[in-house]
Symmetry: C2
Subunit: 166 residues, 2 copies
């Protein structure tokens, strides 16, 4: 498949003169590599910006989804975040301990939990949002509005087609 590999645009790259351009080799075919290396940078800078060692990875996503979908189940939350249910249960445990979200038995089905955000959780979420957007501001400055829309649509399409049934 190397012949089908798209060539990478390298506009704006300022590699030091003594460092030859790095070839991606086999990685030019691999989406996971491209996702992960951007994610590596975003995660590191987010931790520096947040300065909240009490906030674990996934907490912001869970809180935002609970806020946007009052009464959401842990199963739906897990499906939308892309984590297994056990991990999501432990994230929700932490959110409940912090007083940011709460579980109630669903009225329609007593076996499942309905999640909701607390007023304190809503304030924390608003603070997190500012930090997350600031953390990604450099990326949006590098893309046109149309490129950003294309990128989000392509990533949402992948998730919708490949993973949202899990």
């Amino acid at each position: 498949m190397p012949g089908k590999t798209p060539s990478a645009p390298k506009a704006g790259v300022d590699v030091p003169a003594d460092e030859p351009k790095v070839e991606l080799g086999l990685l030019s075919e691999v989406l996971g590599f491209r996702l992960r290396r951007i994610q590596n940078h975003l995660s590191r800078s987010l931790i520096e910006r947040l300065r909240r060692p009490d906030v674990r990875s996934g907490a912001f996503s869970a809180l935002a989804l609970i806020d946007a979908n009052p009464g959401i189940s842990q199963k739906s939350l897990a499906r939308e975040i892309g984590l297994d249910q056990a991990t999501v249960v432990s994230i929700v445990d932490a959110l409940e301990t912090q007083g940011w979200a709460q579980r109630r038995r669903a009225e329609t089905d007593r076996r499942r939990h309905a999640l909701s955000i607390t007023p304190v959780g809503a304030r924390v979420l608003a603070e997190f949002r500012t930090v997350y957007l600031a953390n990604e501001a450099g990326i949006y400055a590098a893309l046109s509005e149309a490129e950003r829309t294309d990128l989000f649509c392509l990533l949402d399409k992948i998730y919708g087609v490949c993973f949202s049934k899990d």
Copy 2:
């Protein structure tokens, strides 16, 4: 900014009838969320496919870059993978212990290490490649050739502009 948020195409999504469609809420603005949830799925399925607990995250990327760039420095490797240098040094330590890659003092600059892949490492890399491509096959089936090219170009542009100088 909510008004500028691109709407997500949801073609092919088959959410169970008893689960209402989940709204992304604030996350509709966040690239990191989109990257991470795809990455979460890819990482889990990759671990299941590889069945190699001795292979740590980042080993395949490092090996592929060393293969494609004989003599590459650890600094360049770290920049291209998006990890800090200490993490990359420990990945290279493991690759050296496994006999898959080796460090030598660079002839032009004795302070830096030049990395190279071993014959065993090259064989392992070829095996890994098959597993990585199989792991992502569902994604490529969901995208047209043009969509895949657009996606890779957009992700490479983000990396090139925002992170390749770090």
